[in-house]
């Protein structure tokens, strides 16, 4: 008779967890698009803790590679994406190792 109760409790915990990111004060995630051999926006200013996702909408593969290698994606094919969460304030310049003339910046406040 008692068996169903823990199961229901587990469901309730799962539902609470799913809602947690919105309830906590984590900044809204941000997307950077890669198109026509450019990162858009080319300067992104975000609060610390923001999760940034780059999506490659271009015909060519690209990478998202921090100049100091604090973060580095693999080669992203058309439609692929890469995410990184910026935990601490700072300024990051990143580029595409396949097309090094593609450069952009993330400013974390």
């Amino acid at each position: 008779m008692l068996r169903p109760l823990p199961f229901i409790a587990a469901l309730a915990v799962a539902a609470a967890c799913a809602a947690a990111p919105a309830a906590a004060d984590a900044p809204a995630p941000v997307t950077v698009e890669i198109r026509d051999m450019k990162y858009a926006p080319d300067t992104l200013t975000i609060p610390a803790g923001t999760r940034v996702t780059w999506v490659n909408r271009d015909q060519m593969p690209h990478t998202v590679t921090d100049r100091g290698r604090a973060f580095a994606s693999a080669a992203l094919d058309t439609g692929d994406s890469y995410s990184y969460t910026f935990k601490t304030p700072g300024e990051f310049t990143y580029f595409c190792t396949i097309h090094p003339f593609m450069v952009a910046r993330v400013v974390v406040k």
Partner: protein, 321 residues
């Protein structure tokens, strides 16, 4: 004085300083004394005459296995055709060189496919990486683990065959990206120091062949088609009578002569790219499907005893011979 020295009178080389020549595909070039001259279209009698050599090797480049867009939906198929083309050459090459961008996305499965297909030629293959081969998140670790055995630094090396000294350089690791620069590639200090030592003490009459993925002269800076510190590398080669630089990366044939050095970029085996500045960016150039094989293919390089300088023949897949 060697046979080759007599064939390379200095004044001839001086006269052609900074001459830049664009070549159409399917043209046979003979390079003597630093002066490339067209012998004729492939299939001509002159081409047949050039078919005997002391050392012949083949260059393939920019296979981009893993590419899947309309510019060439089947790069594995065109690589297989390229290898079939090499097997049908009238003079069989002693070995193959691949000047980079073997894969499109640095994935082991892509290299598996390429190596298996290139293996059909049954020849030794000397590889160097393109930037597409070192685009993994670990900055080229996968390429170096697979292809870097027995090499120096980050994959460079040299070897000798038939009296010709080959230098395989790597210019896809060091870039200087900036908001106001094209981020030209570099060979880097460590490699340049190695190169200086590698060439030190070698006879100036030894023909040199230099392999690198990105061009060793600036073809088009806005698209990063150059190598920022190539001048220092070429300085170490000034005293050599015959220097032949073979590059890939730009998926088209561009040739230049500067003093004792001839520069040749190659067609790829996958798809063409626009001529410098002819498009907003250097993405794949889509040509009508029936035309693709005019723009992709292989190259043979033949050192003949009579001159000591190589004759190059670019062989688009669409051509005969």
């Amino acid at each position: 004085m060697t046979e080759r020295d007599r064939a390379n009178p200095e004044p001839n080389r001086r006269r052609v300083l900074k001459c830049m020549a664009w070549a159409g595909t399917g043209v046979l070039w003979a390079v003597r004394g630093g002066v490339p001259r067209t012998l004729g279209l492939i299939g001509d009698a002159a081409a047949a005459e050039a078919a005997q050599g002391d050392l012949t090797f083949a260059q393939i480049s920019d296979s981009h296995i893993g590419f899947h867009l309309p510019a060439n939906p089947d790069p594995a198929g065109t690589l297989a055709e390229s290898i079939a083309r090499i097997k049908a050459m009238p003079v069989q090459p002693a070995f193959l060189v691949h000047t980079g961008d073997i894969s499109h996305l640095s994935k082991p499965a892509e290299w598996d496919t390429a190596v298996q297909m290139i293996g059909e030629a049954n020849k030794q293959v000397y590889y160097i990486p393109g930037e597409h081969d070192v685009a993994d998140a670990d900055n080229g670790k996968a390429y170096l683990e697979r292809f870097g055995k027995g090499t120096q630094g980050r994959g460079w090396y040299s070897f000798d065959v038939g009296g010709v000294h080959f230098v395989a350089l790597v210019n896809v690791f060091e870039f200087s990206p900036g908001f106001k620069s094209a981020g030209l590639a570099k060979l880097g200090e460590e490699q340049l120091e190695w190169l200086e030592k590698d060439l030190d003490g070698r006879s100036a009459s030894t023909p040199l062949v230099v392999l690198a993925h990105l061009p060793l002269w600036t073809v088009y800076e806005q698209w990063g088609w150059g190598t920022a510190d190539a001048g220092r590398a070429l300085g170490y080669m000034k005293r050599f009578g015959s220097v032949t630089v073979l590059n890939g990366h730009i998926h088209q044939i561009v040739q230049k002569v500067e003093g004792n050095v001839t520069f040749h970029t190659a067609m790829g085996t996958a798809y063409p790219q626009p001529a410098p500045g002819a498009a907003p960016h250097p993405g794949p150039l889509q040509v009508p499907a029936g035309e693709l094989r005019k723009y992709i293919g292989v190259r043979s390089v033949e050192f003949r005893s009579a001159s000591g300088a190589p004759a190059l023949m670019d062989r688009p897949l669409a051509s005969q011979g």
